[in-house]
């Protein structure tokens, strides 16, 4: 250190990890190149979903400032060009280049200058959550002597993730750590066939009031000026314990949750790296939290909070790692009802689909949606259990066609009915194992635990996933224009019939797999046999509307 001036400018240096189309090797591109070549890049992706999500938000913030678009007309023109105008991008980034230097002394990118009274942590602190989704060793200083060296590129990536996903916990200066914009709830991102498509699909019309309007801070003070991303702000907000004002969308996208300072050093052999950093609280989001266009929300019931701090406004739908996202796909996609709000992004995608169906643009009828989230310990809002990332195929017609979506909803209901049947049968089998002679109601706790151990339910869900994705892709394919889609009165869509059969077979298989090991003693054999028999009975009831699910296969022999 000393007098040495370090410089690593994200506009020019290659640091954005990209997957290329075909079997091309991954490349790392500079900020300028990744946007100029977005149509040639398959996608931006990092092994940490937190980094991936945060990277996209940065790219979106830049693009919105360069291109708008102010309305759908402009959006369609951008889409039609097939690539981002490299000159416009270069010009913008050249104008703000000085704010993109990771190690600049005055305004290091997404950081603050060196802080006088803040201790130095290993840089691994930034990478920890992003890498493992686990913050258990957040403040572990035991391995301080020679912490790991990260390259500048790696440090930049984790820096972004930290600002977006900061977790509110613990003492800091000038006030306790607070959550970042993406910390709570699931967030979604549309995925196109190239990075260009992906970015545009996620670019909603951008104005001074949408998709995120200006918002006053906790003390009632309004924003200092119009919306702009962090790097454009000559006088960024000072931390305010009640919450800072939000200027607008790009301010929100580039929200500085933390004051971070990366301490650079030279890597022997060339290049710059980071081994230590400083980390403090910075901006707290105001209350009520701005509505993130990539998140789903729900209205908490009045009774939910049990009298704790008054809950203001809709809350982000939580990420639940025990429950794969496809199971909630219907809820996620459906248009607002009294209790749920789908991500604003989906309304945008519905408009894209409308334009496509009307022949105004060329696009695919289906894209994919990536869903990200952190799952927290329900007993400890600061403890991250895991992060998750899933991808759902999304035929866009689901976003506009309520009837189609209703079919999907029916399919999910059938799946839930199958699961109830399985659960009941498993519980009975467990009861017979635990206390075979007692009447129903005896030793329920032991039986529940035993049933849990069987793992039949998780087998069931994991086996149902692939057929469901297939169904989700296939349901929209009966185009109303091509003859009768809805079959005759009383007849079922054959794909739903097939789905009902799949549910039955999967439930039976999941139980059979579990009970296969129950054969050591007469008691086990009995539990298994009765479990199977009960399941058959429960499934007949659960799938009563689809008796065709029980027709034996013609060639079932053996």
């Amino acid at each position: 250190m000393g007098d040495k001036k370090f410089s690593y400018n994200l506009v020019d240096e290659p640091w954005v990890p990209c997957q290329m189309p075909g079997s091309g090797a991954p490349e790392t591109l500079s900020l300028r190149d990744v946007l100029a070549r977005a149509h040639e890049v398959r996608e931006v992706s990092h092994q940490s979903p937190l980094v991936t999500a945060a990277l996209h938000r940065l790219l979106l913030a830049v693009l919105h400032r360069v291109f708008g678009p102010a309305d759908y007309g402009e959006w369609q023109r951008l889409w039609g060009r097939g690539r981002f105008d490299p000159n416009a991008v270069a010009e913008y980034l050249a104008a703000w280049r000085r704010r993109f230097d990771l190690f600049s002394e005055g305004r290091p990118f997404y950081q603050v200058g060196r802080m006088e009274r803040a201790i130095e942590h290993p840089a691994a602190l930034l990478a920890q959550e992003a890498a493992t989704g686990n913050n258990a060793t957040l403040f572990d200083h035991s391995r301080n002597d020679r912490p790991r060296l990260y390259t500048a590129a790696e440090a930049a990536r984790y820096l972004l993730a930290q600002q977006a996903y900061a977790i509110g916990f613990g003492k800091s200066d000038p006030f306790y750590f607070r959550d970042g914009p993406l910390t709570r709830g699931i967030s979604v991102l549309a995925v196109g066939r190239s990075l260009f498509e992906t970015l545009l699909l996620n670019m909603m019309p951008y104005t001074s009031s949408s998709p995120v309007p200006p918002q006053a801070g906790g003390d009632g003070r309004g924003p200092a000026g119009e919306d702009m991303p962090f790097w454009e702000q000559d006088f960024p907000e000072e931390p305010e314990s009640e919450g800072s004002p939000v200027r607008g969308y790009t301010d929100y996208l580039t929200w500085q949750s933390r004051r971070i300072h990366l301490i650079p050093e030279e890597i022997p052999g060339g290049g710059l790296g980071v081994r230590r950093c400083q980390l403090q609280q910075r901006l707290r989001l105001p209350s009520p939290l701005p509505r993130d266009p990539f998140k789903a929300y729900y209205e908490p019931r009045a009774a939910d909070d049990g009298g704790a701090a008054a809950v203001v406004g809709p809350l982000p739908v939580k990420y639940n790692t025990a429950r794969a996202v496809w199971r909630d796909s219907h809820a996620l996609i459906q248009r607002a009802d009294a209790t749920r709000h789908r991500p604003l992004l989906f309304d945008h995608l519905a408009e894209v689909e409308r334009a496509r169906a009307a022949g105004e643009i060329e696009a695919e009828p289906r894209y994919a949606v990536a869903v990200y989230g952190l799952a927290f310990d329900p007993q400890n809002a600061a403890s991250v259990l895991a992060w998750g990332r899933e991808r759902l195929p999304l035929p866009l017609s689901y976003l506009r066609d309520d009837e189609l979506l209703a079919s999907l909803g029916r399919a999910l209901k059938l799946a839930d009915a199958g699961r109830s049947a399985l659960r009941s049968a498993t519980l009975e089998a467990a009861r017979l194992l635990v206390s075979p002679s007692s009447e129903k109601g005896g030793s329920d706790a032991g039986a529940s635990a035993k049933a849990e151990d069987f793992g039949a339910e998780s087998t069931y869900w994991s086996r149902l996933e692939t057929p469901f994705r297939r169904l989700m892709s296939e349901l929209p394919q009966a185009d109303p224009g091509e003859g009768v889609r809805a079959t005759e009165e009383g007849e079922h869509d054959p794909r739903l019939s097939e789905w009902a059969r799949t549910v039955r077979v999967t439930a039976a298989g999941a139980l059979a797999e579990t009970t296969r090991n129950l054969r050591g003693s007469a008691r086990s054999l009995r539990a298994a046999a009765q479990g199977d028999s009960l399941l058959r009975r429960y499934l007949r009831k659960a799938l009563a509307d689809y008796p065709e699910a029980f027709e034996a296969e013609a060639a079932a022999a053996v």
Binding site: R519, S521, A529, S533
Partner: protein, 207 residues
């Protein structure tokens, strides 16, 4: 009246015929056909001699040898003798035609199924039957003949059908590590629903 030699010759001829020639039946099927033939022509001496094998081992039950031994030639596993011998003695106790279901009806016919029918038709004694069934499932192969003797007696009194062919195989497979015989019997016994007891079933039982 036949002699030991003629009985043995007859058994040997039947065994021979089944094993070779155009009508290649599984050994246990042919054996049960042979036993049924003895019953059909009312060969009381044969049945009496076979019955005297109850409670004894094959080696001890010399009177049964003329009927059984010719069938045990070239058995893949010597221990399989137990299945044939046991069923021969039990059949003699209850010489009924082996239970066969119509084509396409795949409901089970194993001992578990027979006992299920028994308890269905005779609710009073079902606890005792279940206890005995439990003991059978928990026991090893050597204990089977005694258990089966008890249950066949009950089955005989109730006139319930028995799949003898299946029983031979099941006894011989009893010690398989996968315990699939025990599993199949349990499924049939405890997994039975009322429609399993109708003569015809419009909905074939799926596996």
């Amino acid at each position: 009246m036949t002699t030991e030699i003629t009985d043995r010759a007859e058994a040997a001829a039947a065994a021979e015929a089944a094993g070779g020639g155009k009508e290649m039946k599984p050994r246990e099927v042919a054996f049960v056909d042979y036993l049924e033939a003895l019953a059909a022509r009312d060969d009381r001496a044969a049945l009496a001699r076979l019955r005297r094998g109850l409670g004894k081992t094959l080696d001890e039950a010399r009177e049964t040898h003329r009927y059984v031994m010719p069938w045990l030639r070239n058995l893949r596993r010597k221990s399989d003798e137990l299945g044939y011998f046991t069923v021969a003695t039990l059949f003699a106790l209850y010489p009924e035609r082996s239970w066969r279901r119509p084509e396409g009806d795949r409901r089970p016919t194993n001992m578990g199924a027979s006992l299920a029918v028994l308890t269905f038709e005779n609710q009073d004694g079902s606890a005792g039957v279940e206890r005995r069934f439990n003991a059978m499932l928990d026991g090893d192969r050597e204990a089977l003949p005694d258990h089966l003797r008890y249950t066949i007696t009950l089955i005989k009194n109730a006139g319930v059908a028995v799949d003898w062919e299946r029983l031979i195989r099941d006894i011989n497979q009893w010690e398989h590590p996968e315990r699939f015989v025990q599993t199949a019997w349990s499924r049939a016994f405890w997994g039975a629903t009322p429609e399993d007891f109708t003569e015809e079933s419009t909905i074939p039982e799926e596996e």
